[in-house]
């Protein structure tokens, strides 16, 4: 699956969450804490929708993610 994170294209494995995908890119300043929908530290803009909980959202082909 290809997704765009902060303007760059990345390959994400099947059933990868958006938060895990962002962590895999080593995006600066991204510091999620809990990985299970509690802490709200992983929120990102996904396909234009702001403040989405990235750890609870599976990647989808062609997705666009902005981490700030």
């Amino acid at each position: 699956m290809r997704i765009r994170i902060d303007g760059r294209e990345f390959e994400a494995p099947e059933q990868c969450s958006v938060a895990a995908a962002i962590l895999n890119t080593g995006a600066a300043g991204f510091a999620p804490l809990c990985g299970m929908g509690i802490c709200m530290q992983c929120r990102a803009t996904v396909d234009g929708a702001p403040l989405m909980q990235a750890c609870q959202l599976p990647c989808r082909e062609g997705m666009t993610v902005e981490t700030r």
Partner: protein, 386 residues
């Protein structure tokens, strides 16, 4: 009508839903994760969880968060709509979350919970070639380290804050199955340094975590610091439902006891709402047993007093609102702190800093009001019935 709603599709909720449905009840299972399975069976597209529901008639509502409860109606929000869900019997299996205790550097990228590391690996985090320090407390540390190692990480150290003698005494009372499980994990972790009575004092590294300093002064280089201080029950919904009849709380949200406790409590509640009290009563001795285990677990892995002295004045305690330890430590109570510093007033609604300030200052949680989770304005305007 006898509509059963189960909140939470982890082990307790799944088993409760299955038992209630087998007993002929119409069951709706609501869960906020993208797939059923809770934290134990996270990942893999919810396959394990779906097996539990095979052949029973349970309507599964994924990615659905219960944001409010009023009378016998839950307000549920999904990604694109709001649903008013009516119940006659409600089973709450809201699970638990990790307890985080603030230390200098815990907000750096690369620092996260131990359970969080497990959840992220199950959700696609690539740890191949990464050096990881797993720290904090509880049996979860070995499980996380084993999983990460299995996925190609190098475990730089495991730091268990509980002293070795206490963990040994705990192990002495374990069931054979649990002892075998522990032996299996330890075999997988052969060669990995495991320090008891040791904790992470600080994480350093500027842009992201590069090393941690342990309580004994040792510095260990790492890419990730996975540090969690056990689990705390998710009680927000239960507090909102306080005093209401036909509400059954099961699993980790009633006390941290692991899979067995969740399974038997879930099953008993499922039988009970299906009207099969005799079957439910048969599980009583096992539930008692499981609850005793929960008490031992809590005692063994209770965070030690020294952890209260880790945060410095500038160490952030409430990450949502950016409130530092120094702004909180002289305040009289949480209500005061909330009003005057906004500690706990951000989008996580104190789920992270609440257990921390309870441990640090003894502040008890105060009132719970809807919405118990961030919710869209239109959800609170009233959803369509379902």
């Amino acid at each position: 009508m006898n509509r059963v709603v189960v909140i939470g599709a982890g082990p307790a909720g799944l088993i409760a839903a299955a038992c209630a449905a087998q007993g002929g009840r119409q069951v709706t299972l609501v869960d906020d994760n993208p797939e059923p399975g809770g934290q134990l069976w996270r990942g893999g597209g919810g396959g394990v969880a779906r097996q539990k529901l095979e052949g029973v008639n349970v309507a599964l509502l994924n990615g659905a968060r219960v944001v409010a409860a009023h009378g016998n109606t839950l307000t549920v929000e999904t990604r694109d709509r709001a649903i008013a869900l009516h119940w006659d019997q409600l089973i709450v299996a809201a699970g638990a979350r990790e307890r985080f205790l603030p230390f200098p550097g815990w907000t750096l990228p690369g620092a996260m919970g131990a359970g969080a590391m497990q959840a992220f690996i199950k959700s696609g985090l690539d740890v191949r070639g990464k050096r990881i320090v797993v720290a904090g407390t509880g049996p979860i540390l070995l499980a996380v380290a084993a999983l990460a190692k299995d996925k190609g990480a190098e475990i730089a150290a495991i730091c268990e804050q509980a002293p070795a003698w206490r963990v040994r005494r705990f192990a002495f009372h374990l069931s054979m199955a649990k002892i075998l499980e522990a032996i299996h994990l330890k075999r997988k972790l052969r060669g990995v340094p495991l320090y008891y009575g040791t904790w992470v004092r600080e994480a350093e590294g500027g842009e992201r975590v590069r090393r941690v300093i342990l309580s004994d002064g040792r510095a260990i280089d790492c890419d990730y610091a996975a540090c969690g201080y056990g689990l705390v029950p998710n009680t927000e919904l239960l507090r909102l439902l306080e005093g209401r009849e036909n509400v059954h709380a099961v699993g980790e949200c009633t006390g941290i006891g692991g899979y067995l406790k969740s399974a038997v409590e879930g099953a008993a509640a499922g039988y009970r709402v299906a009207g099969d009290d005799s079957q439910a009563n048969k599980l009583r001795p096992v539930i008692e047993q499981a609850r005793k285990f929960a008490v031992r677990l809590e005692r063994t892995f209770a965070p030690r007093a020294e952890l209260r002295s880790l945060p410095r004045d500038e160490t952030v305690v409430c990450r949502c609102e950016g409130v530092a330890f120094g702004a909180l430590r002289d305040l009289p109570n949480w209500r005061y702190a909330k009003l005057h510093t906004r500690c706990g007033m951000g989008p996580c609604q104190g789920r992270v800093c609440g257990p921390a300030v309870e441990f640090l200052f003894g502040w008890k949680p105060d009132s719970t009001r809807p919405p118990v989770l961030p919710a869209r304005v239109d959800t609170l305007m009233g959803g369509s019935d379902a």
